[in-house]
Amino acid sequence: MTTATLSASAPGAQTSSATLTALHGNHACALAAIAAGCRFFAGYPITPSSEIAEHLSYELPKVGGTFVQMEDEIASIAAVAGASLGGLRAMTATSGPGFSLMQENIGYAAMTEIPLVIVDVMRGGPSTGMPTRPAQGDVMQARFGSHGDRPVVALAPASVQEIYEETIRAFDIAERLRTPVTVLYDQVIAHLLESVAVPAPGAVRVIPRKWANGASGPFRPYEAGDDGVPPMVRPGDGHRSHTTGLTHAETGFPTQTPAVVDRMMRRLLGKIDANRALVERFATRATDDADVLIVAYGITARAARRAVDVLRAEGVKAGLFRPITLWPFPEDALKRAASGAKSVLVPEMNAGQLVLEIERVLGGAAPVRRLNRIDGEPIVPHQIVAAVKEIFS
C-alpha cells in the first residue's frame, strides 16, 4: 500500500465520474455524508465544526433528510442513535467539549450496536481551550473516552479530499460493523480550501443495512453470524426486540451469567478485529529503506511529508508512515514500515498520545522519539527536519 501521494484509495467511494470542486474541509464532510446516504443529522453548534451542521441544515432537506439542532451534544448523539435505530444513516459533528459530553451515549451505541458517525473537529484543549486553534488532543479520548471496554473505530483524514473519502468510509464501516465510528480531524483541515473529486450523484456505493427478517422460532436479535455482526431489527418489521445498554445475552435481555457475559463481550470487541481489512487504512512514503521513520497523521502528516522530501534531498533516509485509521491501529503495517528503521519520530499536536500506541506496537524494536506542539500552532516541516537531524547528531 505504498502511495506516492497523500491520498490512498478509499474502499467506500466508488467514483465512476468525478468533478473537481474546491471545498472547505467541513463542507466536504457534509457533502460526503449526503453522498454516503446520511439522512439524519442532529448536532449542537461548536467551533470549529459548526459549518458541517450549517451545510447539512440545507443539504439534508434537499434529499428528503432531517436536520435537527438539539439542546446539547448529549441529546444530539442520542437523537442520532434514535434515528439510526429507526433505520436511517445518521451523523453528528462536534469538537472537544461536545465530544466529551457525547461519551456516555457513544458507549451506549457501541454496546447496543447502533451504527452512527461522529465527526470530531479537534481544537485546542483541555476544557474550552482554544476554540479556533488546531490540535490533535482527542486521539486518546476517541479510544478510551467512554467507560468500559468497547469496540472503537476512529479515522483521521489529512486533506479535504480525504475528509470526503473517510466520511463515506465511516458510514460504510459503521453500517457494516454496527458500531459508532469517529472521524477525527483538526481545525486546519476543517477550514482548508482544496480541490476534491466529488463523485457524480449516486456514484457512491451505499450498501444497505443488514436487516433481520423472516424469524422462525425464538428470535435472538444479538446472535451473530461468522462476521460477528448480528443483523439489525427494524421497528415495525414484527420482531419487537429489546435494546438495552445493560449487558445482554443474544436474546437482547439483560444477563449477568459469567459465561454469557464473556461470550457477548468477546464477540462485541472481536468484531472490529475480525474485520480489520475493512477498517484499516494507511499510507506510506519512502519507507522501504528508511533509517528514520516518521509516524504522523492528520495535518501533521503533511508537514512530515514535506520534511521527508527535504531530508531525502539532503541525503537523509527518512520515510513516513501515515495511519489514516487510528483505531484500531494498523499494527502490522507499522511493524512492516518500521522493520528497517533505526529510529522512529512521532510528531503530534498534543503532549504525546498516539506515540503511546506506537511504542506499544514496536515494543522497543527501535527508539521512539516525540515532537509535541501544544501551543495551538500546527507543526511545520522544518521542526520535523530539525528533530530528525538532532536524532542523527
Binding site: M70, A75, A78, Y108, G238, G245
Partner: protein, 292 residues
C-alpha cells in the same frame, strides 16, 4: 400471571371491545418482574398497555423508549419495540426515532429523577418542540432504583437516604413546567385511579403533539417504608386523600404527599407539531422554496 383474578380484563372493569388482556401485551417469558410488592410502577405499566389497547395500536408499531430507573425497567416487559436507553436521555433518543419513523407510536417512560433532574433539559426542549411523543413520567418522589435518594419531587420533610433529617429542598411542579415549556398536552393522574389514568394516557397518545403525563406512583419498599407511610394499600389510599384537591382541597395535611397536586388534563392545545413542521420545511426546500 396465569391466574385470571390477577389479570382482570377491561370488560371486568366495565367495558372495552375487544376486551383488554394484559398478557397479550407482555413478554411473559421475562416474568417474574423485578418490582417490589405494591410498587406503583406496576400499575403504571398495566395502565399504559391498557391505554395502548384502547387506542387500537398494533404492537409492531409501538416503540417504548425508557430511561434508567425502576421506571425505565418496565419497558423490558412490554411485547413491543422497546429501548432501554441512558439515564435522563430517553426523550432525546425518542426525538431521533420519531423523526426517522413518524409511522411509529412513540411512548417514553421516565422517572422523576430521570426526567426532571438529569433529563430536565431534554424535557423542556421536548415540550418546546412539540414532537408527537407521549411522555409518561412515573413520579414516586424518589430515586427508587439507586436506593431511595432525594429527587426533585420529594415532598417537604421526607426522609430519604440522602436527607436523613428530612428534605428541605423545594420541588418541581412538572406539569406547570411542561405547560410553560410548550407541551401540547399536559395531564396528571394517580395510579390509584387506574381507569382514569388509562383514559388520560389514551388521550395523551391520541393527541398529535408532545404529551406529558405525570403518573403519581408509589415507591412502597423504600420511600414508603422510610417515611412510615404504611403498606401499599395505605399508600395508595393516601393518594386519594391528597390527590383530589377539587374534592379535598380543604382537607388538613395528610401524612402522604402533604402538598396536594391537582389531577386531570391541564392543557390540550393544537400547537404546530414538530414533525409536521420539519416535513413542511423539507417539502418547501425540495420545491425550490426557502421553507419559510
Amino acid at each position: 400471571m396465569t391466574d385470571a383474578t390477577f389479570s382482570p380484563t377491561d370488560a371486568a372493569l366495565g367495558g372495552g371491545e375487544p376486551p383488554f388482556d394484559v398478557r397479550e401485551w407482555l413478554r411473559l417469558e421475562t416474568m417474574p418482574h423485578f418490582m417490589c410488592p405494591g410498587c406503583g410502577h406496576g400499575i403504571a405499566l398495566r395502565t399504559m398497555l391498557w391505554a395502548a389497547h384502547d387506542c387500537g395500536i398494533d404492537k409492531d408499531d409501538l416503540a417504548v423508549v425508557c430511561g434508567i430507573g425502576c421506571s425505565g425497567r418496565i419497558g423490558g416487559y412490554i411485547d413491543a419495540n422497546t429501548f432501554h436507553t441512558t439515564h435522563g436521555r430517553p426523550l432525546a433518543f425518542a426525538t431521533g426515532l420519531k423523526l426517522a419513523r413518524p409511522d411509529l407510536t412513540v411512548v417514553v417512560v421516565t422517572g422523576d429523577g430521570d426526567c426532571l433532574a438529569i433529563g430536565g433539559n431534554h424535557l423542556i426542549h421536548a415540550c418546546r418542540r412539540n414532537l408527537d411523543i407521549t411522555c409518561l413520567m412515573l413520579n414516586n418522589e424518589v430515586y427508587g432504583m439507586t436506593g431511595g435518594q432525594v429527587s426533585p419531587t420529594t415532598s417537604a420533610h421526607r426522609i430519604t437516604s440522602t436527607t436523613q433529617a428530612g428534605n428541605f429542598e423545594p420541588t418541581f411542579d412538572a406539569c406547570r413546567l411542561a405547560e410553560a415549556a410548550g407541551a401540547g398536552f399536559v395531564g396528571r393522574e394517580v395510579t390509584r385511579q387506574a381507569p382514569a389514568l388509562k383514559s388520560l394516557i389514551a388521550r395523551a397518545i391520541r393527541h398529535h403533539g408532545f404529551s406529558f403525563v405525570e403518573v403519581m406512583s408509589d415507591c412502597t419498599e423504600i420511600y414508603g417504608r422510610k417515611n412510615e407511610l404504611g403498606e401499599a394499600p395505605e399508600m395508595i389510599l393516601g393518594q386519594k386523600a391528597d390527590m383530589r384537591p377539587e374534592v379535598y382541597n380543604d382537607a388538613p395535611d395528610r401524612p402522604f404527599r402533604p402538598n396536594a397536586l391537582p389531577t386531570g388534563v391541564f392543557v390540550e392545545r393544537g400547537l404546530p407539531e414538530y414533525g409536521d413542521s420539519v416535513r413542511a420545511h423539507v417539502a418547501a426546500v425540495r420545491t425550490g422554496g426557502t421553507g419559510r
